[in-house]
């Protein structure tokens, strides 16, 4: 295999990081698939799908999965809607950049330093609000507070990309604000919205930080999520079931990515 000089240089540039990536993420990931199919993690005794079945049948796993899905679907929907509307008005009303910064600031405030405040709100008298049925709503609020800044920046950036001529010509034609939003702004924002969606999904897993700091390893059943399940399993260091569980998660994510990608490719083909 002969590589040109240019090609070797390119490979050299990416080699330090890529080799580390292979060593720490990719190779062990293949090993984890192997291990998740093992009967025992100590001695090779044969293959089986038992690990996967045990994980799926496990009550804690099912609860964690259900909570995670509820949180993601509702939380991300609220997040996208809220930040889209907020960014639009921040842009329209030409709010000063200090106000925008106020919304962005929470993303860098470390979780541990604000738990004083959150504990103040959550513990009313003898009642711990995170132990009630409103726990999920509270967690969603914390999630939006902490991560709205990312999507707001993305949306405002997207709004800034819309050429002024289009908006001005629409205004001259006498379009109302709502019409402009519906026919001009909204379609132009779609790339920003999809990027914001990806970022929000990635951030939705980070809500574990606040839940752990506030409630510890075993929070109330309403907010016990996948990270809790995996962490608690990892403490025992029995990797076969752990590997199975995390591989399930990965398979689910890949499936969703695959479906979205297929939908995107099919739509492109139809447009051509």
């Amino acid at each position: 295999m002969r590589l040109s000089n240019k090609q070797t240089q390119g490979l050299l540039f990416i080699a330090p990081h890529f080799l580390g990536l292979v060593a720490i993420y990719i190779l062990p990931f293949i090993v984890s698939i192997w291990m998740s199919l093992q009967v025992s993690s100590l001695r090779f005794r044969g293959f089986s799908l038992d690990n996967y079945l045990n994980v799926i049948r496990n009550n804690a796993f099912q609860m964690a999965l259900k909570n995670n899905l509820i949180f993601m679907i509702i939380g991300i929907a609220v997040m996208m809607g809220f930040t889209c509307i907020l960014s639009y008005w921040l842009w329209e009303l030409k709010a000063s950049h200090w106000i925008v910064l106020a919304f962005v600031l929470p993303i860098c405030i470390p979780s541990a330093s604000v738990i004083g405040f959150f504990r103040g709100i959550i513990n009313i008298g003898n009642l711990n609000l995170l132990n009630t049925n409103y726990a999920m709503a509270l967690v969603i609020i914390i999630y939006i507070w902490k991560h709205a800044g990312y999507t707001i920046l993305i949306f405002m950036n997207g709004l800034g990309q819309i050429p002024n001529e289009i908006i001005e010509s629409a205004q001259i034609e006498g379009a109302t604000r709502w019409q402009i939003f519906k026919y001009v702004t909204y379609p132009e924002l779609k790339p920003a919205a999809s990027f914001g969606l990806i970022v929000s999904v990635i951030n939705s897993y980070k809500v574990y930080k606040e839940i752990y700091l506030l409630e510890g390893r075993y929070p109330n059943n309403n907010i016990y999520m996948l990270q809790n399940y995996l962490n608690n399993k990892a403490v025992k260091f029995d990797v076969t079931e752990l590997a199975a569980a995390s591989n399930l998660m990965m398979a689910a994510i890949l499936l969703i990515i695959g479906i979205i990608h297929m939908a995107y490719v099919l739509r492109k083909k139809r447009e051509v």
Binding site: K6, F29, V31, A95, F103, R119, G120, L213, A234
Partner: protein, 277 residues
Amino acid sequence: MQKRSNVDNLLLKGIRFLAFLFVLPIIYTFVGSFMDPHQLSQGEFKWTAELPSLTQYFSLVIFKAEYMRFFLNSTFIAISIIMLHMIFATLTGYGFAMYQFRGKKVIFIIYTLLLMMPFQVTFVPNLLVFQKVEKFFSIQIFDTHLALILPGVYSVFGVYLMAQYIQRIPMEIVEAARVEGANELRIFWSVILPCLKPALFSLLFLTFVDYWNLIEQAVLYLTSTEKQPLSVFLESIYYQDHSIFYAGAVLYTLPSIYIFIKCERYLREGIFDGGQR
């Protein structure tokens, strides 16, 4: 500039109030740090402290200096990861953006897929590797900071950011340098690097934010208390040593705010394009 209508003014007031709500937790923590510790241990939080005092800070810095150890832990972890990750990310992003080589497409797809994977998926391979390496090479990894630093340094996000950004640098500059006879490394150092300032600041900010607030990894890999970073330890002070909690929280937050002030301009100016161009 037209006068704003009444509805607009009302909306703006509403937005200003919302912005205030967003910074409220931070204001609360700051105010709390100036309260007298005795008042705090009684469990009451008064908004206007009767005796605004710096006692908390004194107690923390002078009498409880051992807590500084955890601050140093956090600092060590964050700085190690930031420095190494930025170097690797820039080099790798440069390689992706400027060169074509065999297998590049496959490798890039691997990077993209890994970007989508949350911590819950990526930590299991890390765990496995650490177990094997500990057994075969007898280096201790669990319960050291290495277990936190390695996955962070080799994470994918920075590579992606730099690659996207470098791709948008106009090639004429590079071609001009090549005509002048500069070799590849020289081009990288003197031509590309200065253009990257916004991307570097944004990457600095995002990496810092991720690892100053490290919790999942610390909970998983660190068992001895003295190695824990402040992100996890601060929580245990809330009940143990409530009288200095708020001062500790403020000191913990200050580096974040400092980096935020330094870098927010670059964030707003457009690293969040998301591939629109």
